[in-house]
């Protein structure tokens, strides 16, 4: 009677039909009677204060209901900590419409509420705003002398400061056989999920709010709204069953949530607020950074010194920090090391995590420096990595819970055909194209957050799983269903997963590639607790054939509990519920990382990316013609959705290396390309062959499932692999991203 396991099977997304028929509803798409619409007005100066804000003309437009500014906003929580969401970095959270002060260009300064969106948008154009401007700094390079250590806070738990130096890295650099010093610069980037940030606040009366929001954490936004507006948690419900991409931008409550809820409470009406694409550039971003690396190696190709200093931009009000500088030492052993990470406060909004924050920027610098060092030593770049391969974490000496990076190198190199590479730069040609092969290593953490899951057998004997997590396109719904189905040996049709709702049990964030490990492990724990409960009830049923069965004597499959040694002795789950007077049987349990056990281990996902580029001999246009990425990320629950995660992040890697950048005009302190025509991301014509390989990586230690997460690991190795391929094609090294054809002309 053993049913077929679903974990490991390429099951199509369960919400697929809703997404291809237009039935999936996102935050701005809920039909609410008597709905008002908002439009935000943003600051056109970078720093200073509002001296006058005149709404007379806008208020005179027929259909305008109210205009909120700092002058007439309702009284709100005054204690800064009440604004601090679960992902708030150390500092003081930005409070929209708080006062006349302008902290950054694009800051929301007014909210127009009208009967329809057209009227609100038109009226927003009629506000007269006068400012007093003061001088500002938005240029990282000009302000590196102001760099300082980041403040520590709660967020530092996940992003610990760099480790202390070891040995004498300067001496090692001077005395080693080969050395490379390089400086890398990255532009600001914006997440730009396709769905615009939006909130629909349903004013339910009786003090209750139902909020459809674009977020990566329903609970975080529920807590934020309740704290800021002084509401009881149970009166605030945040729902996000469909989220049109996040990439980190939804980790913190964004200002449209604050403004929409404020308007709904004040006007006692339901309100919808949708940002426009330009406004999508007016909250968090990936910060610009400068990285200085000094790597050295002996004549046998063993690394002797790793020195990595990173400077990153943050706002004047919060110390957003990333883990940047120490990644090299989690990959490669070296006796002499020095890592530093410093912040420069600028008159910009606080950055927010963007897909593989820190690691993404760091690995580009590290793996390009490794490539350059390999060339100095005259060693094949892959061979150089293998000579410095670490079975244990070089930075701590601890063993990894699992590490199949060597297999990644072998599998990807073979599929790519790395051995066909002529090491000489600019030596390979195809017609009028220069061909380059490049490779790089990737590493990312294997996070797990605490999560609570309710598991229930309902009246029909179906398994129902509930957790507040979102599914931002990662495949979470499908994966959770598979994990739960296998625990009970049920077909996936017999499992319902409820998610994307702050009323469901706790989930922290959908970020850090942690959801499968977090919610998935909690599902296993809750399912096991539920099975125990079911076994106990089954034993006690009148004339139960399992009366004498111990917990270890029974198993669950196909909607039944049965005796392991005689599967014909079985009771259906529906019968157990019936014996429970028809009441569903449920349990709620917590899953959390096994901190004590994990203290003895290092944990990480790894990848190896191999890339071919073609560079047009005359036009110098760069094309990534093919890329192979092999990933070691523990058990893969669903190879179909996991592959999509990796392919998607490979596209992100191509984008970072060759396309995307937010251009900051330092004189204006303003982003100059806040739209999808000028903020370039790859289009279909830019994407060619992408191959994904999952290396077998059993992991008995990391968590109940042996999973590590795949949301970010596919991105980190790609930018360096591409830059290294461009070097191999052209003989020219580029240290700043994105690399544009004009730099090759």
């Amino acid at each position: 009677m053993q049913s077929t396991p679903t974990v490991g099977k390429p099951i199509s997304r369960l919400e697929g039909i809703l997404k291809v028929t237009g039935a999936a509803r996102y935050a701005a798409e809920y039909e609410v009677p008597d709905l008002l619409h908002g439009y935000v007005v943003n600051s056109t100066i970078t720093k200073g204060s509002i001296t006058r804000i005149d709404t007379t003309q806008a208020m005179a437009v027929e259909g305008v209901v109210h205009i909120f500014t700092h002058e007439n906003r309702p009284r709100l929580a005054w204690f800064d900590l009440q604004y601090a969401d679960m992902d708030a970095p150390p500092g003081t959270v930005f409070k929209p419409l708080h006062d006349a002060t302008i902290h950054y260009n694009g800051q929301p300064i007014a909210l127009v509420i009208a009967q329809d969106v057209e009227t609100a948008r038109y009226a927003a154009s009629l506000l007269t705003i006068e400012y007093e401007e003061t001088s500002f700094d938005t240029c990282l390079n000009d302000n590196l002398h102001k760099a300082r250590k980041p403040k520590k806070g709660l967020a530092s738990v996940m992003k610990s400061p760099p480790p202390k130096p070891t040995g004498d890295v300067k001496k090692a650099f001077q005395q080693s056989a080969a050395q490379v010093a390089a400086e890398f610069r990255h532009s600001t980037e914006h997440h730009n999920p396709m769905e615009l940030f939006a909130t629909t606040t349903v004013y339910e009366g009786d003090g209750q709010l139902t909020i459809y929001d674009k977020t990566q954490s329903t609970i975080n936004n529920q807590l934020y709204v309740a704290n800021v507006f002084g509401l009881k948690y149970k009166y605030v419900r945040v729902l996000a069953p469909f989220v049109g991409g996040g990439f980190g931008s939804g980790l913190r409550p964004q200002y449209q949530l604050f403004l929409c809820v404020m308007a709904a409470l004040q006007l006692k009406r339901s309100v919808r607020l949708v940002l426009d694409r330009k406004q999508m550039f007016s909250f968090g971003h990936r910060p610009q950074n400068v990285q200085r690396l000094h790597f050295s190696a002996d004549d046998k190709g063993q690394l002797t010194g790793l020195s990595h200093t990173a400077f990153s931009a943050t706002s004047q009000f919060e110390d957003y920090a990333e883990t940047v500088s120490e990644w090299s030492h989690k990959l490669y052993p070296a006796p002499h090391t020095s890592f530093d990470y410093q912040l420069v406060s600028l008159d910009l909004h606080t950055p927010v995590d963007m897909r593989a924050p820190g690691g993404n920027s760091a690995l580009h610098a590290i793996e390009c420096t490794m490539d350059e060092l390999a060339y100095k030593l005259g060693i094949d770049p892959l061979e150089f990595r293998l000579r410095n391969y670490a079975d244990e974490d070089p930075s701590t000496g601890k063993p990894f819970t699992s590490k199949a990076l060597r297999a990644c190198y072998q599998l990807a190199a073979e599929q790519f055909g790395w051995h066909q590479r002529n090491p000489q730069p600019a030596s390979m040609k195809r017609g009028n194209k220069l061909v380059g092969y490049g490779m790089a290593t990737g590493i990312w953490d294997a996070f797990q957050f605490p999560a609570r899951v309710e598991a229930m057998i309902d009246q029909e004997g179906k398994l129902v799983i509930s957790n507040a997590t979102t599914d931002i396109g990662t495949g979470t719904l499908t994966i959770m269903t598979q994990i739960a189905a296998d625990e009970f040996g049920l077909p996936i049709e017999q499992v319902n997963v409820h998610y994307g709702d702050s009323k469901k049990p706790f989930s922290m964030f959908q970020g850090g590639s942690a959801t499968t490990a977090s919610t998935g492990s909690a599902i296993v724990i809750a399912a096991q607790a539920l099975k125990k409960k079911l076994w106990k009830i089954a034993k006690g049923m009148d004339g139960s054939p399992l009366a004498k069965a111990g917990e270890a004597d029974v198993a669950f499959d196909s909607g039944q509990i049965y005796l392991r040694h005689d599967p014909s002795v079985a009771i259906s789950l529906a019968a157990i519920v019936a014996a429970n007077k028809g009441r569903p049987i449920k349990t709620t349990n917590m899953g959390k990382p096994h901190l004590l056990k994990l203290r003895k281990y290092a944990k990480a996902t790894h990848s190896a990316a191999f890339v071919e580029v073609e560079v047009d001999a005359e036009l110098k246009t760069i094309t990534v013609t093919r890329a192979v990425t092999a990933v070691a990320a523990g058990k893969i629950i669903n190879p179909k959705t996991a592959r999509s995660q990796i392919e998607g992040s490979m596209v992100w890697g191509i984008s970072k290396a060759l396309h995307e950048a937010t251009i900051l005009d330092e004189k204006l302190g303003k982003f100059m390309n806040p739209n999808l025509a000028e903020y370039h991301i790859p289009v279909h014509a830019d994407i060619h062959e992408l191959d994904v390989i999952f290396a077998d990586e059993p992991d008995e230690i990391i968590n109940e499932l042996g999973v590590k997460g795949v949301g970010e690991i596919g991105l980190v190795a790609m930018p360096a692999a591409i830059a290294n391929a461009v070097y191999h094609a052209t003989g020219k090294r580029f240290y700043n991203l994105p690399i544009h054809f004009n730099e090759l002309l």
């Binding site: 997404k19 028929t21 057209e118 999920p193 694409r277 392919e647 999808l676 289009v683 279909h684």
Partner: protein
């Protein structure tokens, strides 16, 4: 200050005729989403830069955000909600599911409507040409490869 006067406009959407009273500044996209509650058509940029709002108008793919609704008097509009036949998915919809040609799903309605229009145009012969002619539809999740795989499967099965 007066609100631009609403005027009646009649067009069909997914075979159903609608007469709406619309101010001339209402885009076809907002008319579909806010007035007709057909929210399958997505707003990604409102500037004709991302393709998420693509619908079929008299069988041609158009950007509904760049179209004022009053311009479409008498037109036959098909949105993503009208692509399937009852419970039977259009082959492209099924191919998108089979190839996992989406992640967050927000660009998907536009990709599918655009692909139907593109195939009908009959200009694209090769995968390269399909990619080029689908490049007005952005996908930030990076599902580019599987989107084109899904379209090519349907294109080839029809040839």
């Amino acid at each position: 200050m007066s609100y631009p006067a609403a005027r009646p406009v009649t067009f069909s959407v997914n075979g159903v005729s609608h007469t709406l009273s619309l101010a001339p500044w209402v885009t076809l996209l907002d008319a579909l989403r806010e007035r007709l509650r057909l929210t399958g058509t997505k707003k990604g940029c409102d500037h004709g830069q991302c393709g998420a709002c693509t619908v079929l108008c008299n069988d041609q793919r158009i950007l509904s955000c760049m179209t004022l609704a009053v311009m479409k008097q008498g037109a036959a509009i098909t949105t993503i909600e009208g692509i399937a036949t009852g419970d039977t998915l259009h082959p492209l919809q099924q191919a998108f599911i089979d190839h996992d040609a989406f992640q967050c799903g927000y660009c998907t309605p536009g990709q599918i409507c655009s692909a139907i229009g593109m195939l009908r145009e009959g200009k694209a012969r090769t995968r390269t040409e399909v990619k080029e002619l689908m490049s007005g539809n952005l996908c930030r999740c990076g599902a580019n490869k599987t989107i084109i795989d899904a379209i090519m499967e349907v294109k080839e099965s029809y040839e």
